[in-house]
């Protein structure tokens, strides 16, 4: 029997419901085989999977359930073909060829819908509540913001999905992250997720999916939820999600690939039914008071090495024993002084963009701070929209002009300096105030470069001041 919504059983989480709905069966290994409703691919991790498919004489089983874009290697200042980087050009040609050959819809360089895979999925309404989603990119957890179960995967698993539309997966446990109250003014969901990672640790989420809940979470607009879920992987969690609510449904209405008309109403019934039951059982619960969160800066070599903007960098001697080694490595790499105040750390580069904070609301936040001000002469500042749609919107609203007038470079859509696979890179020892998601050693393109992760407003304030400042204070 086909049913519009799964049977309602008391005490099930969204993860339980989505998992059971998509379960194809149990494999000899003990893992479950899960049907993947939406598969997203990009140019970097997919060519080897298509090659593996060809080597085995296999076809794409459900080409209509895979969508492709290009983001990682795309230059943001000169997109003319062929690219100056011959490897990037070869990569681009491979995805153009593979999507054409297998009949996969492709939002390529010339498409008005091209952009970072985790920006365009929600933006186009491809991402919907109750779906299983996978992409060869760890930040696939982003899509959980709409109440889907979304997994980052490796290339062998991309091959599995192309060939079978399924994955072999182990059911994660669920930790409910309950954030009460509301976030204070000047504090964003970026600050909240960095705080959660700092509290629970970069490996604290291993074996778990994180369900974000509570009034502070459901009070967030959709784009802020996307930022939150985006960094679940930095907490070590396999996935992160927010139960769908009226904010989710309003966001989806009218989106290109969302159900239209009467179908939307039918979908609503399914979406509402897929949310966690009020009496759902959790494997763990972590509670946090939303009002206690302040603007955060991840200063070290992983996103968990973070402190509130009013704080000081930690002393190695005070750290928990299991954290000392990575902390020592962080000081060795950054050269920062232990126990120094965070405020006043000099900044050379400011980057606003990425799948974490490259949406229109992020650009609005940053533009609000830089409006009428100038980027410090010591700072190189980049504003990189997450998609072509975001770029058009920002241009129409006058945000691009605000950025340019302040001294930011206004670029075209792509991953850019988040991982520096394109020409946007730090050089030597530069310190970058960045809205991206990882401050790993070498992440932004210079093996000796340093990254400070923060919210768009905080990056904008740092760009103008030339150093880390508290966006809530002073002329902002």
């Amino acid at each position: 029997m086909r049913e519009m919504s799964p049977a309602v059983t008391a005490g099930r989480s969204l993860l339980d419901k989505v998992w059971d709905l998509h379960k194809v069966g149990t494999l000899p290994s003990g893992q479950d085989q899960l049907f993947i409703g939406l598969h997203l691919i990009h140019e970097v991790t997919s060519p080897q999977a298509f090659q593996a498919l060809a080597d085995r004489g296999l076809k794409v089983l459900y080409p209509g359930r895979t969508f492709a874009t290009v983001d990682h290697i795309v230059p943001t200042n000169d997109r003319r073909r062929p690219f100056a980087d011959t490897q990037a050009e070869a990569m681009m040609q491979a995805i153009e060829r593979n999507t054409k050959e297998h009949g996969i819809q492709f939002f390529g360089l010339g498409s008005p819908e091209q952009g970072i895979v985790h920006i365009i999925g929600p933006e186009l309404g491809l991402t919907q509540p109750g779906m299983t989603i996978a992409c060869g990119d760890s930040h696939t957890s982003t899509h959980g913001a709409l109440g889907s179960l979304a997994f980052g995967i490796g290339t062998s698993q991309i091959r599995d999905i192309l060939a079978t539309q399924t994955l072999a997966l182990t059911r994660p446990r669920v930790r409910r992250i309950e954030v009460s109250g509301t976030l204070a003014s000047g504090v964003s969901s970026k600050d909240l997720i960095i705080r959660i990672i700092a509290d629970l640790g970069v490996n604290g989420g291993i074996g778990f999916a994180y369900e974000y809940a509570g009034s502070a979470i459901h009070g967030l607009p959709m784009e802020a939820r996307l930022t939150l879920c985006n960094m679940s992987i930095e907490a070590g969690a396999r996935a992160g999600y927010v139960n769908p609510d009226e904010t989710t449904f309003a966001y989806l209405k009218g989106k290109k690939f969302a159900p239209q008309g009467a179908d939307f109403d039918k979908a609503l019934v399914f979406w509402k039914g897929i949310a966690s039951d009020p009496d759902a059982r959790y494997d763990d619960v972590f509670r946090l008071d939303g009002a206690s969160v302040e603007p955060m800066v991840a200063w070290g070599i992983n996103p968990g090495q973070a402190v509130g903007v009013s704080g000081r960098l930690p002393r190695v001697a005070d750290a928990r024993p299991e954290e000392k080694e990575t902390l020592r490595k962080a000081y060795e790499h950054t050269g920062f002084e232990e126990n120094r105040p965070l405020k006043g750390l000099p900044v050379d580069v400011a980057f606003v963009g990425s799948c974490t904070n490259g949406r229109i609301s992020d650009l609005r936040e940053a533009a609000r701070v830089v409006k009428g001000r100038k980027v410090s002469p010591r700072v190189t500042a980049l504003a990189v929209p997450g998609s072509r749609s975001v770029a058009r919107q920002a241009e129409a609203e006058g945000l691009a002009e605000i950025f340019r007038a302040a001294g930011f470079q206004w670029r075209d859509a792509g991953c850019s300096m988040c991982l520096a696979m394109n020409p946007d890179k730090l050089v030597e020892r530069q310190v970058c105030a960045s809205t991206s998601n990882r401050n790993f050693i070498g992440r932004q393109g210079s093996p000796r470069g340093r990254t400070l992760l923060m919210s768009p407003a905080m990056v904008a304030a740092a760009a103008c001041a030339g150093e880390v400042v508290d966006v809530r204070q002073g002329a902002v």
Binding site: S29, F35, Q48, S138, G154, D160, R238, R438, I441
Partner: protein, 204 residues
Amino acid sequence: MSSQSTRVKVTGRGIPLPGDDIDTDRIIPARYLREITFETLGRYAFQDERFDESGKPKPHPLNDPRYKGGSVLVVGRNFGCGSSREHAPQSLMRMGIAAFIGESFAEIFSGNCTALGLPAARVSHEDGRAIAGLVEADPAAVITVDLDAQSISVSGRRFAFTMPDADRRSLLTGEWDSTAVLLARRDAISAAAARIPYVHGWNA
């Protein structure tokens, strides 16, 4: 390379690689991901940690002649965190690594390892230190990772290890290359697709 062979015992000399939270950007920097095959990746594993910007070797276990030819990498906690890039275990495999021993592994990384037939064995913090110490004391010692017995032996000592059951069973049965296993259930896949509302269509 046989794609469906079993992994019961992996033997080889060890390479101790200290440090916790070693992320996949450190294992393989993003600039080496601009290739459409995995074939050449073995050259670039830990590139920025092994060589300075002029290409001069830095002190690193993978540059240390004592550990040359080693195939069992002994690591710390949360190894392979960060980016899902399969390029990370691919680069290590292609430079000759056949197994990992560590306190814990990031989930996507360990899943990628299983998909390549590389066991990632978890040991306690103390045992991890002890194994690294034994390798440092005698780099020629052969480590055996026995998946059937779930034990690691080196220099006359034995250590228990853990690994998710599914990974261990896949490696033992040779079904770690999952595509064939998944594809064998074509009918069940179609049946699942038929009951998922957004897949079969809202009017169905």
